[in-house]
Structure formats: structure tokens, C-alpha cells
């Protein structure tokens, strides 16, 4: 399974190269990869259906528990098969949709990378490797949504998707860490065995909240649903793949995966049911107000995702059964409809409902695919959508609220299905929409395959999908004996009555769609207070205030920067001193004053005199020379106290400083006091504060060092014996603490580059030379 991931990543990276050499035939290897992976995953079918999970383990970073542990059970296999099967079709479809696009190679790179990440996500048993693949899907989907880089809309939407899902990813990481702490395990299988600990642990509630935020952002649940319709700015194959079948299902997958661990307490069930219910209702209501085909599909997708979350929230056997079957059915028909919409968009140049009539006569196969998918969506026998819908109703019969939500979504699905399957393609009476070109084979073949798949799965429901779905259900329920039996015909039950009622009501809604669209325009002002606006307000406000803050903090005056650094440093030091360290005992150190020698006093007064002189001087040259004097005096101090290395460095640095100042001196303007004298006293005060604090720290260190430190002895002993050097200072620098020195010289190099670029910057002449 690791090889599947590795091959995926390799194929992704060579895609642009292949596009350059093979031209449009790049589709052959790109579509072949998911197809082969699909076949590869099919070979696992007997083992998984037999009830055994396939596991693989590769050590990665064992110290922190991050390993590539893969585990393929029923749930994972369902997802893996969906991902690779759709991957094959979408890759092929994209070759028609983006034919002749110069960036097709990059597109395949992103899409293959996304597919690989998605596969890794569903196969991971280790929660951190799941998280890594999770983030990888966010990043690659960002690249895919923003594929049409030239359009602002596309870029903004890509940003939005990345920020929302990235924020959720952050929350998810927190949740996963809390979970791993409370269970003491880094794998899902480990979490499951420690389930009792997790439920008892104090971290349970925060872990649930954080994990669910992660899943809700990814699965576009209320109130994070807004990024999904905006993400329709992506090319249609991307929308079809990411926003109906794979990426948004990642959140569903993770909720389902964690459900056996976390389910039980009320907070889990009620949160899922509430959020899922609101999302389903909201998606259904909003879907009826739009006239853009892609937007309609996006909102119905949100509604469907909400239903799935609700089902997991209900958590009973029938509900899980309904979730799995509905998810499969939804993937098949929604994928088809998206691909058909892309085809319509490509051939007619518009997705506006009001401009599309009687497309069926030109686009027979697309129309056929759309109609088959629509029948499945509407829940008509014998499609798999019918079974899904029956199960949904059955699962939500327990509560009237849930039943109402499910019915509402169902009615919307029927109305939307009639729009797609009949209104756009076959309805008589209007003028035909003229095509710009006919749909090629790659544009109508993949949706047709998917639509027929929906029909086939419905007819052969007890043969093909049932055993696998049963294993998936056992994984979700953590109950190896759970039974899942599907059949096309349940007999005349109340649920069948509800289905028929839904169809009738859906038809009524379809009939009144024009009225609804008209009414919807009056609701527009309401959307100004939606989460999308909130997001934009936050985004822009953040940028605005960040800019203002930076302008305030970094005003371009070096003296202020130095001042801030000093202030911060002093504050930090003062805080530490105040909190942690004992006071200095001066009483028995007065005697040290007797040990002061005459030349020390001389140097001391030299420095003091130089400083006082410095404050009064009005010439740069004088101040530099005086500063040099202070520096040399400091070097003298070092020599007096027996630190020749430091003294030598200090002397050389002082020399260089003076020389460099002299080099720059003639470039500077004449020396004048531009600000008030007060400024000077301010800087004097800060310098004095800094000096006093440092002196205090020095005295403190001296007081402590006598008794506690063993470093001196250690270095004295080992420096010659182990490090072959008699100069302890140098041995410490290059050997004992060599890594520190390496860090320092790296900083030095970076600082030099920074200074260099500042010097070359010539703002008066308008930028760089």
C-alpha cells in the first residue's frame, strides 16, 4: 500500500514532464495509474469481504509516534475503490475538458497528488499520518481550485477553501493529539481498544469539539459550508471529483472512522444531528434559489453531506446502513451530474438554467447519462438511489424533526433531478440552445459509465455492493456481527409511501421553480449577513489591521527598532528576575570594593568621561571616535580580567566599526537635531535601564556561580583530554557548543545578506539598482 502512495507521488511529479514530451497523450499514463490502482484494490476484495483487515506498517518517526501504518478494512476499501474508480474517469474526462490547455501537465500533477493524498488518508491507521494526508488534500485542492490563476474569482475561492479547511486542519490536529493522549495510542485500532479510557478522560469533550470542527470544515457543514459553492470556480472535473465525491467525503470518512470510538455520550450524537440537520435543510433551501447549474449541484451536495452527518449522528444500525448506501449512490449520481454540467458548459458556454433548452437532440449520450443519474437522484426504482432513499427514511423514522429534514432534502433532490434529467435536455416547447461544438467522446463517456453504474448497482444490489458495504458497516459500528442486507423491493411499507409522496411533492416544487427563483431575489439582502460575508470581513479586517500594526511597529527608524528590542528584552528579563530569582545579598560583598586596583579605576573613569563627552557632542566623527574609545576601554577590561580571546575580538570589532563608519560618513547628511532634546533623554534612560539590568544579572550570576556551577571544572578537565585543545574558550566554541556556533554563523550570514540588500536598495532613485 505504501507503494501505491509512492507511485502516485512519482507519477504526479513527472506529469508536467510527460505533458511536455507526450502532448495530449499524457492522459494515457495519468488515467492508467488510477485504473491500475483500482484493480490493485479490487484484489484485496476477497480478503476484506472475508472480514480481515489488511495491515501494513512502515516506521517513519517512531520517537513521536508518527509511522506509516496502513489498514485496509471495509470502510477504507469502499473509499479507496470510489477514489480510484472516479479518478480514472475524471482523468480521462479532463483530457477532453482541458484539451489544448498549456497547463494540462500541472493540472494532472495536482489531481494525481490529490488522489494519492486521498488514498493515503483513507488507508492510514496512524492518526498523524492521516493528518499529514489530510493537509495534503487541502493543499492540492487549493492548487486545483485556483487552477484558473488568471481569474480573481478563482484565486479568492482557492484562498477561502485553503483557509477554511486549513483552520479546520489545525483544530483537527489539536483534537487528534488530545485523543492520542487520552488513549495512549497513535492508531485508530489502538483508540478503539482504549475506548473506555477515551470516554472517561477529561479531554473527551475538547477532543470531540476540535475533531468535529476539522471534519465539518472539510465536509462543508454549517457554518463552514460557504467555501464549497465558491469552490465551483474550479474547472468542472475538479468540482466533480473533489466537491462531490472525494474531498468533502474525507470529513464524513473521519467522522465515520471515529464514530465507534467517540460515540456514546450525548454531545457526539446531538452535535452531529443538529449540525447535519441544519446543513441538510440549508443546502436544500439554497439549492432551489439558484439558477447556475453548478451552484445547484453544489448546494444539493451540501445537503447530502448534511444528511450523511445526521445519519452518523443517529448512530443506529439502520442509520449507518443508510449512510453507506446513500454515500455510494450520491457519489455515483452526483459525479455524473457534475460531469454532464461540465459538458454542457463546455459545449454551450453557459451554465445558466434560463438559457438552456432541449439540449438532448444534440447531446444524446450526455442527456442519457443525466437522465439515468437524475432517476437515481430522485430515488426511483430500480436505481441504487432508490435504496439509499428508502434506507434514509427508515433510519429517520424515529423522530419527526429528522424525518422532516430528510423529506425536505429528498423533495429538493427530486426537483433538482427533474431539472437535470428532463428540463435541460428533453422538455419541448422552447427554442433549442445552439451548441458551440459537439461533445467529444471523453466528455460524454465517463458520465455515462457512472450513470450506468448507478443502475447496475441498483439491479445487482444483493450481489455486488452488499458484502463490501457490510464490512464497511462493521468497521463503523465496531461490531463484527452487524448484518447488512439490501434488496431492491421492500414491499408496500410506509417508507415506500413516503418515497412516492416525495416524488409527487418534488414534482410540485419543480413546477413552481420559476416562482421560487423570482422570490429568491427578494431574499438577497439577507445574505449580506451570511458566513461568507463574515469570512470576507474577517479576512479583509485581518489584512487591514495587520498592515496598520506593521506600519506602526516598523516605522523605518532604526533607533525605534533598537528601542523596541531593548524594551522587550528588559521587560522579559525583569519578569524572570521578579518571578524566579532571589535578591542579591550586597552586605557581604562590600569588601570586594577594597580589591579594586588603580588601573581599573583609571579605565572606569575614562569610560565615564567618554560617555559624558559623547552626550554633548554635535559631530559624527567625534562621537565615532569616542565610541571607539569606550570600546577599547572595554577591551582593556577584558585583558585585565584575563580573557584575551574576548579582548582580541573586541579590539578587532572596534577597529572595523570605526573603519566602516568612516567609509559611510561622507554619505550621510549633516548632523542636526531634528527632534526635541527630550528624545535624547529618552534614549539615555533606556540605555541606563538596560545597563542596570545587565549589571544586576552579572552580579547575580557571580553570586550563584561560586556554589552551583560545575561547568568550569568539567570544561577544564575534558577540554584537553577529549577535545585536544588547551584554549577552553575556543574548544567550547568549536566543539562542545559547536552547534550553537553553527547557528550563530548562519545568522551572521543571513544578516550580512540582509544588510547587503538594504545597502543596495536605493529608495531615492526608486528601488533597487
Amino acid at each position: 500500500m505504501l507503494y501505491a502512495i509512492v507511485i502516485g507521488i512519482i507519477t504526479a511529479t513527472v506529469a508536467p514532464l510527460l505533458h511536455r514530451t507526450m502532448g495530449r497523450f499524457v492522459v494515457i499514463p495519468m488515467a492508467l495509474l488510477p485504473l491500475l490502482l483500482f484493480i490493485y484494490f479490487c484484489t484485496f476484495m476477497p480478503e476484506v469481504v472475508g472480514g480481515h483487515a489488511v495491515t501494513q506498517q512502515h516506521v517513519w518517526v517512531p520517537e513521536v509516534g508518527i509511522n506509516l501504518q496502513f489498514r485496509l478494512d471495509g470502510l477504507s476499501l469502499i473509499f479507496a475503490l470510489l477514489i480510484t474508480f472516479f479518478g480514472t474517469l475524471v482523468m480521462y474526462y479532463a483530457s477532453g475538458y482541458l484539451d489544448g490547455d498549456p497547463l494540462l501537465g500541472n493540472f494532472y500533477l495536482y489531481l494525481t497528488l490529490f488522489m494519492t493524498a486521498m488514498l493515503g488518508l483513507v488507508m492510514s491507521d496512524n492518526i498523524f499520518s492521516l493528518f499529514i494526508f489530510w493537509e495534503l488534500t487541502s493543499i492540492s485542492s487549493y492548487l486545483l481550485i485556483g487552477y484558473k490563476q488568471a481569474e480573481k474569482d478563482s484565486r479568492v475561492s482557492a484562498w477561502q477553501a485553503l483557509l477554511v479547511t486549513g483552520l479546520g486542519g489545525l483544530a483537527l490536529l489539536g483534537g487528534l493529539i488530545l485523543l492520542s493522549i487520552s488513549a495512549g495510542s497513535y492508531t485508530f485500532s489502538g483508540l478503539l481498544t482504549q475506548r473506555a479510557d477515551v470516554l472517561q478522560h477529561a479531554f473527551y469533550v475538547p477532543a470531540v469539539v476540535l475533531t468535529l470542527i476539522g471534519c465539518f470544515t472539510k465536509s462543508a457543514q454549517f457554518p463552514f459550508h460557504f467555501w464549497l459553492p465558491n469552490a465551483m470556480a474550479a474547472p468542472t472535473p475538479v468540482s466533480a471529483y473533489l466537491h462531490s465525491v472525494t474531498m468533502v467525503k474525507a470529513g464524513i470518512y473521519l467522522i465515520a472512522r471515529l464514530s465507534p470510538v467517540l460515540a456514546g455520550p450525548d454531545i457526539w450524537h446531538y452535535t452531529l444531528m443538529t449540525v447535519g440537520g441544519i446543513t441538510a435543510t440549508l443546502g436544500a433551501v439554497l439549492a432551489l434559489q439558484h439558477t447556475d447549474l453548478k451552484a445547484i449541484l453544489a448546494y444539493t451536495t451540501i445537503s447530502a453531506l448534511g444528511l450523511m452527518v445526521t445519519m452518523i449522528g443517529i448512530g443506529t444500525d439502520p442509520a449507518m446502513k443508510a449512510m453507506l448506501v446513500f454515500m455510494t449512490a450520491h457519489a455515483l449520481y452526483k459525479g455524473t451530474l457534475f460531469l454532464v454540467t461540465g459538458c454542457i458548459d463546455h459545449c454551450t458556454g453557459t451554465r445558466e438554467l434560463s438559457k438552456l433548452y432541449r439540449l438532448g437532440s444534440h447531446m444524446k449520450y450526455s442527456g442519457l447519462a443525466a437522465s439515468l443519474a437524475a432517476l437515481s437522484m430522485a430515488g426511483v426504482i430500480p436505481f441504487i438511489g432508490f435504496i439509499g432513499k428508502e434506507l434514509l427514511y427508515e433510519a429517520s423514522l424515529s423522530s419527526y424533526v429528522l424525518l422532516a429534514v430528510t423529506m425536505l432534502s429528498g423533495i429538493t433532490f427530486v426537483a433538482v433531478a427533474i431539472v437535470f434529467g428532463y428540463r435541460v435536455f428533453w422538455r419541448k416547447g422552447e427554442d433549442k440552445t445552439q451548441l458551440q461544438h459537439h461533445a467529444g467522446f471523453p466528455l460524454y463517456f465517463p458520465p455515462l459509465v457512472l450513470a450506468i453504474g448507478g443502475l447496475a448497482l441498483g439491479l445487482l444490489v444483493h450481489l455486488v455492493p452488499t458484502p463490501l458495504l457490510q464490512q464497511g458497516m462493521r468497521a463503523i459500528l465496531a461490531n463484527p456481527n452487524a448484518e447488512l442486507k439490501l434488496s431492491l423491493w421492500h414491499g408496500f411499507t410506509p417508507v415506500l409511501g413516503l418515497s412516492v409522496l416525495t416524488l409527487l411533492l418534488g414534482y410540485a416544487v419543480y413546477k413552481s421553480l420559476t416562482v421560487l427563483h423570482y422570490r429568491a431575489s427578494t431574499l438577497k439582502p439577507l445574505y449580506r449577513y451570511g458566513p461568507n460575508t463574515l469570512y470576507h470581513m474577517m479576512f479583509e479586517g485581518f489584512l487591514h489591521h495587520a498592515k496598520a500594526f506593521i506600519l506602526w511597529l516598523q516605522d523605518g527608524y532604526l533607533r525605534n527598532y533598537v528601542m523596541y528590542i531593548m524594551f522587550f528584552f528588559c521587560g522579559l528579563l525583569y519578569f524572570i528576575l521578579w518571578r524566579d530569582t532571589p535578591g542579591i545579598d550586597f552586605t557581604n560583598r562590600i569588601y570586594q570594593l577594597h580589591e579594586i586596583r588603580l588601573y581599573e579605576l583609571v579605565v572606569f573613569f575614562l569610560v565615564i568621561a567618554a560617555l559624558i563627552f559623547l552626550l554633548g557632542t554635535r559631530s559624527r566623527l567625534t562621537s565615532i571616535v569616542v565610541m571607539g574609545l569606550v570600546g577599547y576601554s572595554a577591551a582593556l577590561f577584558y585583558i585585565l580580567f584575563g580573557a584575551p580571546d574576548v579582548a582580541a575580538t573586541q579590539l578587532l570589532i572596534e577597529t572595523l566599526t570605526v573603519v566602516i563608519f568612516v567609509l559611510l560618513l561622507h554619505k550621510l547628511p549633516a548632523f542636526t537635531y531634528l527632534s526635541h532634546q527630550f528624545q535624547k533623554y529618552k534614549f539615555i534612560a533606556i540605555s541606563a535601564l538596560f545597563g542596570i539590568l545587565m549589571t544586576y544579572v552579572m552580579l547575580l550570576v557571580q553570586q550563584q556561580a561560586m556554589s552551583t556551577s560545575e561547568l568550569k571544572e568539567y570544561f577544564g578537565k575534558t577540554s584537553y583530554l577529549e577535545a585536544h585543545g588547551r584554549n577552553i574558550v575556543n574548544v567550547i566554541l568549536v566543539d562542545f557548543r559547536g552547534l550553537d556556533t553553527l547557528g550563530e554563523i548562519t545568522v551572521l550570514a543571513v544578516a550580512a545578506l540582509g544588510i547587503f540588500s538594504l545597502l543596495r536598495l536605493n529608495p531615492e532613485r526608486g528601488g533597487k539598482q
Binding site: 568549536v734 566543539d735 545597502l759
Partner: protein, 179 residues
């Protein structure tokens, strides 16, 4: 700044400073000195050269090598041609040349020095890894070399520091002394 005494003295002092700086670099392990101080001394040698002659001249004499060459004429023997090339690149290098002479410039920029220094310092640490020990574990030669003492990977590290410090100061000084 261009007094005749300074200019003449610097011509002889600069190489001396450089040799001294390298001596300080190797001496550092047992006596006061080391890569940082050595690098500063070495860069001061060049800084004074810049003060006396200007940065263009410093770069020309120490940091770039111009190699002149010319296609062999029909009437020249190979020996004669070799002699001409050697003479053009050594004692006759400042003579004016006719346009058919071409030249290549090999230039060491201060940034290269910095990069090389950082690279050297890092690789000296990697040798520890290659022997299966932690990063930056020292390794010492058995033999001792006169004046320098024994050599080991920390010496290499120190040499990296030397080059980096020197490169940094030179980069600043060269940039600043340009108009």
C-alpha cells in the same frame, strides 16, 4: 587617506596580515585566537587595502584572476606560444594589449566565501554522522604538524567560521565603499 606611506606599507602589510590571520586561526585551539579572530584580522588586511587603494583595486589584486590568451599564430612554434602565454599572464600582465587578446576572469565574490564557509562548517559536522556518531562529533588526526598542531574536524569548522566572517566583512566593505 592616500598618503604615500600608508599606500606603500599596506602593499607589504596585507599579505603579512593574511599569513598572520591564518596562523591565528590554527593557533586558536591551544592559545588565544581562533576562526572568528582570524577572520577579522584577515578581513582587516583587506579593509586597509580598500582604504588605501579603493575596492576596485583590491578586488583586482586579490579576488579575481584575469587570464589572457590568444590563438596561436601560424609562424609561432608551440614553445614560443607557451612562453608568450606565460609571460602575458605573469610579468607582462599589465602591458597594453592588442584587441585580439582575449581574457577570462575568475572571480571570488565575498558571498562565495560566506557560502563556502557555511558549507565547510556544516560538512565538518557531517563527518561525525558518516562515522555513525552524533552530528559534530570531533575527529582528530594522529600526527602533529609543526606550527599548526594536530588537525581535526573542529579545525575545519573553525576554518569555516574564518571564511564566513571574512566574507561577511568584505561584503559589507566592498558594498559600502562603492559610490
Amino acid at each position: 587617506m592616500k598618503t604615500i606611506i600608508l599606500v606603500t606599507a599596506i602593499r607589504y602589510l596585507t599579505p603579512l596580515f593574511l599569513v598572520f590571520s591564518i596562523y591565528i586561526l590554527f593557533r586558536g585551539h591551544n592559545h588565544p585566537g581562533g576562526g572568528f579572530i582570524g577572520g577579522l584580522i584577515g578581513s582587516i588586511a583587506f579593509v586597509f587595502h580598500v582604504l588605501a587603494y579603493g575596492s576596485a583595486r583590491t578586488v583586482n589584486s586579490y579576488f579575481q584572476l584575469t587570464v589572457y590568451h590568444q590563438d596561436r599564430q601560424q609562424n609561432n612554434s608551440p614553445t614560443q606560444y607557451m612562453w608568450d602565454m606565460v609571460s602575458a599572464n605573469t610579468w607582462n600582465r599589465l602591458k597594453n594589449r592588442t584587441p585580439d587578446w582575449r581574457f577570462h576572469i575568475f572571480r571570488v565574490r565575498p558571498a562565495y566565501l560566506m557560502a563556502a564557509g557555511l558549507f565547510l562548517a556544516t560538512t565538518s559536522g557531517v563527518t561525525g554522522l558518516l562515522r555513525g556518531k552524533p552530528f559534530m562529533t570531533g575527529w582528530w588526526m594522529e600526527v602533529k604538524i609543526p606550527f599548526i598542531g594536530s588537525l581535526g574536524t573542529p579545525t575545519l569548522f573553525d576554518a569555516g567560521v574564518y571564511m564566513l566572517v571574512m566574507g561577511m566583512v568584505l561584503k559589507l566593505v566592498f558594498t559600502m565603499s562603492k559610490e
